[in-house]
Amino acid sequence: MSRNRTSLASVAAAACAGLLTLSACGGGSGFDDGGSSGEGGDGKITVLIGSSGDAETKAVEKAVADWSQESGTDAEVTVASDLNQQLSQGFASNNPPDVFYMSTDQLGGYVENGSLLAYGDQLSNADDFYPNLRQAFTVDDEFYCAPKDFSTLALWINTTKWEAAGLTDADVPTTWEELADVAAELKQGEQPGLAFSPEYQRVGAFFPQAGGAMTDEQQTEATVDTPENQEALDYVQQLLQDGSAQYSSTLGAGWGGEAFGKELAPMTIEGNWLVGAMQNDFPDVDYTVAELPAGPQGKGTLAFTNCWGIAESSPEQEQAVDLVEKLTSAEDQAAFAQAFGVIPSVESAAAAYKEESPEVAPFIDGADYAQNPPSTVGAADVITDFNSQLEGLADGDPAAILESVQQSLQATVGQ
């Protein structure tokens, strides 16, 4: 009897202790109900994307389904709600998707820890990509992954407000001075003439216009605290202080496009992804798009691109490369361009797109002089930090901001 009691007690205590530790630390008896996705070796390709909306999701799903049918290999598209976090957890749990969107600012980290398969040169269309997009996904002369498309920034103008202010096509700004003038002219009380998101991904477009850049071309040296960049930030700061420009966040909008669509500001700096949003969410706003005005050193903009990453540990590498080959073909890219307004990453398809949809010309033209954001290991953190400092730009010290970013970015390029 007493023996009996002790053993029951041990079991209960063990169960209790085990479960409690689980509750605190995680752990457990360990069984797998097979609910996890993307196990290796089952011949199924999992594709993880960060979608801008239904249009993008459906277009990618369709393209992948078509490939599945042709190749006879199962494939499943998953839309991440937080791509960075999901990708990171996928790799850390040894269960990454086979094919996924990879942004330039995360590229360095994933290359460094050996997560990415360098397959770029295996593609038959490897040489058709825009050279600077190819460059964006090349680390140490290895072309890691195929750019899936790209976007550049341009100046968006609300034509109704534009005309109401007595402005004409001839007034579309082509220089910094003209931009400052029309922004001041369009300003109405609290409402600014220009609004954009408080981040390097918008403000940074002024750097190349002043002749500056975040790093040298090979990304071996940070060049943040240069007189050129300082000039650009001073200019932006002046716009903000005059009230002719304001951050979208100050206006209560989530991003520049929302401020523009809700007519909180008659001009914004955004990329071609806004085309779809305007169509769906703000169909009543009339607008036109122009190239960003040139600064003292000419035209400049930023290019954003994602590639189709393939996991080094994917058991289905060959199939994955085959899928990417199809997804980056001129035909598929043309379909994506039509569906959600991205610009094809192969030049021939981009040219065709420009012909078909002349309104996107300013974005495609931007490709010729666009700069890529830095993509060194840790660059993502630095940019996040830069963005947080830019939020305080209006009352801040541009020189101090650039200096601190210089230090953090230099620490990432020296590796």
């Binding site: 530790t21 630390c25 209560g252 840790g378 620490a411």
Partner: protein, 351 residues
């Protein structure tokens, strides 16, 4: 009995040991952290966040500053308001007592995610709070987008808007002393109000229990002496509430160092990193930026901070012996219970 001890060791010690290993390794989140190609880097990750001189140190310093101001504001505020609510609803002749208790306690049972969503709306640029401020002719700030430090704003109002040389050049953990004294940002202040809103109900219940325990006799005793209401409260009731007060302060202290849910839901550390907290930074470093070593190191440092604070608290409690000792210990047990349920720091549920 041996298996039990083994099990205990395995389940309690193993996970923490795993994380400890990660915090001294160069694992970057690809494959198993226990694989052959993961190297030992000693205290490098700790050095990076405590004395690295780089972004990692500055981020950690910033997160500590943010959380420190949060703690310093939330703990006294929620304690005072909870006590006020408790005193008001325990008045003997009060009608509608149940309604008031329910109203004050309800925010505590809702999830921190739901409350944060609500708060984002209330404190949006064109939101409810600014509307109300507008009635008084005040132009409300853009709350969750406003990174300006409240103390800096106050100093600015009296003409000090640049760092004095002594404060601007030196600093600690990568942040100048001037930035250390920035105060909570306007955005963080909104979170402070939210924490008070969601936790005061829970603590109110603790105070109500204590007040009921004290009973009416003591108040009667005070009456006979001709003391007024405030004097009765100050010199009779308050001293008797000391053990509960300690409990509430401890709970507050532990809970407020664990701000996570609100930040994940609401601001992700922004604007300008002024709502970054150590708990969120640890998560972000590991799960988003793949700096698992640094993330784990931050978690252990945060744990150390909380342990030290708890020990300080226990030491203070041990000064307080005698008849209250037993009660204090019982309260401390409750403290643990509630602190765990608080998890993200607010909306702990019925503790």
């Amino acid at each position: 009995m041996l298996p039990v001890v083994v099990l205990l060791g395995l389940f309690l010690v193993a996970p923490v040991l795993m994380a400890l290993w990660v915090s001294v390794s160069d694992w970057r989140g690809n494959g198993s952290p226990f694989g052959g190609d993961v190297g030992f880097v000693g205290l490098e990750n700790y050095r990076q966040i405590l004395a690295g001189g780089g972004l990692a140190e500055r981020d950690f310093g910033t997160s500590l500053r943010n959380n420190l101001f949060y703690v310093v504001l939330v703990v006294p505020l929620q304690t005072m308001i909870a006590l006020l609510l408790a005193v008001l609803v325990t008045r003997r002749s009060l009608r509608g007592r149940g309604f008031f208790r329910t109203a004050f306690y309800f925010p505590s049972v809702t999830s921190s995610v739901a409350i944060t969503v609500l708060w984002l709306f209330l404190f949006s640029t064109t939101g409810v709070v600014n509307k109300i401020l507008g009635w008084f002719g005040l132009n409300g700030p853009a709350w969750f987008q406003d990174p300006r430090g409240v103390l800096h704003l106050l100093l600015g109002a009296v003409g000090v808007d640049r760092a004095p040389a002594a404060l601007g050049e030196n600093g600690f953990l990568g942040i100048t002393w001037w930035d250390w004294v920035a105060g909570p940002s306007v955005a963080m202040s909104a979170f402070v109000l939210m924490a008070v809103f969601t936790t005061s109900g829970t603590f109110m219940l603790l105070f109500i229990a204590a007040l009921n325990n004290i009973g009416d006799e003591i108040e009667e005793a005070g009456l006979i002496d001709g003391a007024n209401a405030w004097q009765r409260f100050r010199f009779v009731t308050l001293p008797m509430l000391r053990p509960t007060l300690f409990t509430v302060l401890t709970l507050g202290l532990i809970g407020t160092w664990q701000v996570f849910d609100q930040i994940y839901t609401g601001t992700q550390g922004g604007p300008a990193k002024t709502t970054l907290t150590p708990a969120y930074l640890s998560f972000q470093s590991a799960f988003v930026n793949q700096q698992w070593g640094q993330g784990a190191a931050i978690a252990f440092v945060l744990f150390a901070i909380i342990v030290v604070l708890t020990l300080v608290q226990r030491w203070v409690l041990s000064e307080d012996r005698g008849s209250r000792g037993e009660r204090a210990r019982a309260d401390a047990v409750r403290a643990g219970v509630t602190a765990r349920q608080q998890g993200g720091g607010v909306a702990g549920g019925a503790a």
